[in-house]
């Protein structure tokens, strides 16, 4: 009879549990502290009489006008247009990998997609400034730094994200139906059209939402390529400024403190957009989380 042992063991087991739990709490607390900081620092703007100035269409810090609506529109326009290019491409790549293309090409293509995730954003930006922008400048007119340039490069940037999500979904669906589909004589493209695509609706929606979130959150591509004029763009060749680039620009130029406070409002908007994206994903999944 050794009654002491289990007690000792439980005691020895308690410390690591507590430490691990503590670490998890710290990680989770980070998210809340980010939110808390943004909210606290933008409070003077949101609560005071400056809200009207914030929600206006003019950014003229020297005249005391801190309207961020053009940047909100700019962010939405850019992210939306980038996704409009990236999403169909990603879908095409996934169809290609899952049977519409030859088997020998699927693996190298997928490795390239994975490699694209590791290419630094600033490298895409640099190459585009000196490769894509001159092309746009030559083909149309103006400086070339435009909504169009930023949207195209941003599309390349979010492409792998969207591909990887859709691919995960396709893999799960195909594991279920592939053999049955082959046994009734469906060609891979028929399997894709009649089974995989319709049965992947949820994953396809999640990919769209997460890809949009990723496009909305990128700073460097719009900062380097979109021209950064703080007004609503009239055409694809116009310059635009996103919330993210706005934050980077204003901090760099070091304006006075009222401008800073409006930045935190921009940050808060971006944070809330991230929250919406995540809640959107959760609702698409139907709360069936494991």
């Amino acid at each position: 009879m050794r009654p002491k042992e289990p007690c000792d063991r439980r005691g020895a087991d308690r410390l690591p549990s507590a430490l691990l739990c503590g670490a998890a709490c710290v990680s989770a607390a980070l998210v809340f502290s980010i939110f808390a900081f943004l909210a606290a620092f933008s409070w003077p703007v949101l609560s005071g009489g400056q809200l009207g100035s914030l929600l206006s269409w003019h950014w003229r810090p020297l005249a005391g006008e801190f309207g961020i609506l053009p940047m909100v529109v700019g962010s939405l326009c850019l992210a939306g247009s980038a996704m409009a290019v990236a999403y169909p491409l990603a879908l095409g790549v996934c169809c290609f990998v899952h049977g519409c293309g030859p088997a020998w090409a699927a693996r190298p293509l997928f490795v390239s997609i994975r490699f694209m995730t590791s290419v630094p954003t600033v490298v895409y930006g640099l190459v585009s400034v000196f490769l894509l922008v001159p092309v746009i400048r030559g083909a149309f007119s103006g400086s070339g730094f435009s909504w169009l340039a930023a949207a195209l490069v941003l599309a390349v940037l979010v492409l792998p994200t969207v591909v990887l999500i859709i691919d995960t979904q396709f893999q799960a669906v195909r594991a279920e139906v592939r053999v049955a589909a082959a046994a009734v004589g469906l060609a891979p493209s028929q399997e894709m059209r009649h089974l995989v695509l319709p049965l992947s609706r949820r994953g396809l929606a999640i990919a769209a939402v997460l890809g949009f979130g990723r496009a909305l959150g990128d700073t460097l591509i719009p900062l380097m390529l979109a021209g950064n004029a703080p007004r609503v763009p009239g055409s694809l060749l116009d310059s635009l400024r996103t919330l993210t680039a706005h934050i980077a620009l204003v901090v760099a130029t070091d304006s006075h403190s009222a401008a800073y406070n409006s930045l935190f409002a921009c940050g808060l908007i971006l944070f809330l957009a991230t929250l919406c994206v995540n809640l959107g994903v959760l609702s698409v999944r139907g709360r069936r989380l494991g």
């Binding site: 279920e176 139906v177 592939r178 053999v179 049955a180 589909a181 082959a182 046994a183 009734v184 004589g185 469906l186 060609a187 028929q190 059209r193 009649h194 089974l195 049965l199």
Partner: protein, 251 residues
């Protein structure tokens, strides 16, 4: 005796591991033809080699010849110009565990018809009803064709899979231990069904059950390890003791 399938020196390996080596046999029309063998002897692989379904699994290599005699003439299964989808429509398959598609009962049968033959509407519905009647499932599902197929019981799902294969009007049906995952009553029903289908289709059945083979088989092949295929005469496998003597070292 007309030959339905001729297999010559068929070898299959997965990731370099030989599962089947130089197997040769001729499967007659009608049947049922039963394939018996120890687990791991490659029965299922042999069955899947007939409609080239092994290719759905990773790192599979097949060599040898498989000739399938269909209503439209002989098909060389592994010839480069053979459309594998056409082959698979002529050679239907039912699996050990029922693998209904995650669609409604009706779509399980109509979707392949629509996708592969462009058949829709009344024509497809008529074909579906015919197939479901043939699989003796019609009376059980006629009122709930729009329900998801996964809601059916195991035996019903298996008969739905059978109906799905039959709707495509195959010449040959491959059945991979079709009763193994079913309870006694459902298994009995599927067995009876096989007895009826034998007059219209060439049936090839992989089975574990000796008694099932004795009851139903018209022809019987035994797969030995290493790829040797032995055909047993009817007089041998109808007689329980003789069969046990032959198979004693195997099962």
């Amino acid at each position: 005796m007309a030959v339905a399938i001729r297999i010559e020196r068929l070898s299959v390996d997965f990731s370099g591991k030989a599962v089947l080596r130089d197997a040769s046999l001729e499967i007659p029309k009608g049947g049922p033809t039963f394939l018996l063998g120890r687990s791991g002897s490659g029965k299922t692989t042999l069955l899947r080699a007939i409609n080239r379904l092994n290719e759905c699994f990773p790192a599979c290599r097949t060599s040898g010849r498989v000739v399938v005699n269909t209503a439209d003439g002989a098909m060389e299964a592994y010839a480069p110009d053979t459309a594998v989808e056409v082959l698979r429509r002529r050679v239907g398959m039912v699996f050990q565990t029922p693998n209904v598609l995650p669609l409604s009962i009706a779509r399980n049968i109509c979707m392949p018809l629509e996708a592969t033959q462009g058949m829709r509407g009344a024509e497809a519905e008529a074909r579906m009803e015919e197939a479901l009647r043939e699989a003796q499932l019609w009376s059980e599902v006629r009122d709930r064709l729009r329900d998801p197929a996964v809601a059916l019981s195991g035996g019903q799902q298996q008969r739905l899979c059978l109906a799905r294969a039959l709707a495509l009007r195959p010449d040959i049906l491959l059945l991979d231990e079709p009763t193994a995952s079913l309870d006694f009553k459902a298994a009995q029903m599927v067995e009876e069904l096989l007895g009826e289908l034998r007059s219209r289709y060439t049936l090839i059945v992989v089975s574990h059950g000796l008694s099932q083979a004795r009851r139903l088989a018209e022809y019987l092949f035994v797969l030995h390890d290493g790829g040797r295929v032995e055909e047993l005469g009817k007089d041998v496998f109808r007689d329980k003791d003789a069969l046990l003597t032959v198979l004693g070292d195997l099962l």
